[in-house]
Symmetry: C2
Subunit: 284 residues, 2 copies
């Protein structure tokens, strides 16, 4: 999937939503627990009820891996189901892999050959060697951990370098621009870090950013859009828990749809407002 195809999908659907699939056995509605494949059935219903209101699905590998090879089997089935039925949706493996070259090659094979993902989140701690095997795959994307929104993001990402005075997260964006292009590289920026987005846009003016942490984790949609939107949108906004656990009755998928719809309404207003401001600016 290329940059233009992602943008076109946003044009058509008028949303920036990525639905995060983190299926937690303890939160999955009771009635589904009779199924042979609880994780798959739960996610499939969410996917079927929200696919036209989202541009992307993000599968969190941890929640499948917790159940070993059976969990992996559910994940494969789910990824295949999504790409077979909704091929336009941008399918992300939130796997945060990051290993040295010869291992990284195997992870790239796992997610881009054996499984049909369009993109994978990458932990850049071991440097360039990690990303090389992934960016060899044409039409596939890496999403580098840029600036996360977890409490301990400060432990390393917000350290300032002696020599250049750059912050570690700034170095990730700089390295990303050397290793890849806006056509194969995105970055994760947590919504609670919206105040850093202007700084990020200097380093990554055109790249898509994957933004988790709206809603459940307290990030502000307005701030993210104000500082992060570009002419090509440039934002994919993830919501997991607020959508997939909106309800835990037999009607959970309808409630999930309703939440996705509310998000579309909210983001729709912001996008319209943004378009107006830009066209006014261009007229002046």
């Amino acid at each position: 999937m290329n940059y233009q195809e992602i943008k076109s999908q946003i044009d058509t659907k008028e949303t920036l939503l990525c639905v995060g699939l983190d299926p937690d056995m303890e939160k999955i509605p009771e009635h589904l627990h009779k199924s042979d494949d609880v994780l798959y059935e739960f996610c499939k219903e969410i996917v079927d009820s929200t696919h036209d209101l989202a541009i992307s699905f993000k599968i969190n590998t941890a929640f499948f891996e917790a159940y070993g090879h059976k969990g992996w089997q559910s994940m494969e089935k789910l990824a295949d189901y999504i790409k077979s039925n909704y091929p336009d949706l941008f399918l992300i493996a939130d796997a945060k892999r990051g290993d040295i070259f010869h291992s990284s090659k195997m992870y790239a094979k796992a997610f881009f050959e054996t499984l049909p993902f369009d993109a994978i989140t990458i932990n850049p701690f071991l440097g360039k060697d990690v990303v090389l095997p992934f960016i060899e795959f044409k039409g596939k994307w890496i999403i580098l951990l840029g600036l996360s929104s977890n409490p301990s993001a400060y432990d390393l990402q917000l350290i300032q370098e002696l020599e250049t005075r750059e912050y570690i997260f700034e170095k990730i964006f700089k390295y990303g621009s050397w290793w890849g292009t806006e056509n194969n590289t995105m970055y994760v920026v947590g919504a609670s870090m919206a105040y850093k987005l202007q700084q990020v846009r200097h380093l990554a003016p055109k790249n898509f950013l994957l933004i988790p942490g709206i809603g459940a984790q307290g990030g502000s949609l307005d701030d993210v859009c104000r500082f992060g939107l570009t002419e090509d949108y440039g934002l994919i906004i993830n919501s997991s828990r607020a959508i997939i656990y909106a309800d835990n009755s037999t009607k959970f998928a309808e409630f999930a749809r309703q939440k996705a719809m509310e998000f579309k309404d909210e983001i729709g207003k912001i996008l319209a407002e943004n378009k107006k401001t830009r066209s006014n600016r261009n007229r002046d």
Copy 2:
């Protein structure tokens, strides 16, 4: 498995060897390709022929994951086989996981509950949240990426902080001493970084270090031991390719055993020399 049990195993076996299981389809001997479970059969033979010459096995998850849920099934079978037949051996998942708290909890469940690993390699880039769910498991270990030996280790790990003048890798060792203890925390230090081991030992005087990169990647065993050995040994030295691909005929497992034996001889001399030096020093 506790600190003392690892040490006792070294006392008995007189080696520091960890055999790294990175089964690469392209390098696995021809005759095994007829098997229903090539990855498992290859690794099982290596394990059976080297278990008494090693204190640890390290399974590189990437090489199994490349084949999706079937690869995961082989990995589970292998991990179960090792822990059932050789329960004393310290079993490491070289998985380099590292995600925010609620995902990390699922990865801990995967490797410490669903699978029977004693330890997992952890990518500390997202900070403390990553390690918390793992260190809740009593008798299990985290192995933090401290200082890797890949060419791009310099991209982030060897950056110096403005405020404290510490290097990023030094911060990992400092954080590790806050997050865990020498009874649940080890570190990865690449053999080519042996010249940094004195510095590392100031920050982690008693912790076990997992050292990859001897042999195939050009690290020196002498240097690693000179700067890294402690009174309780404190070193687990990994060798993957040099042992498991020593030969690719039907006799590959015998050749692997021979390589493990050569390592034992070499390390045995160093350990004996080290004991002598220490006892002389104590007598003086």
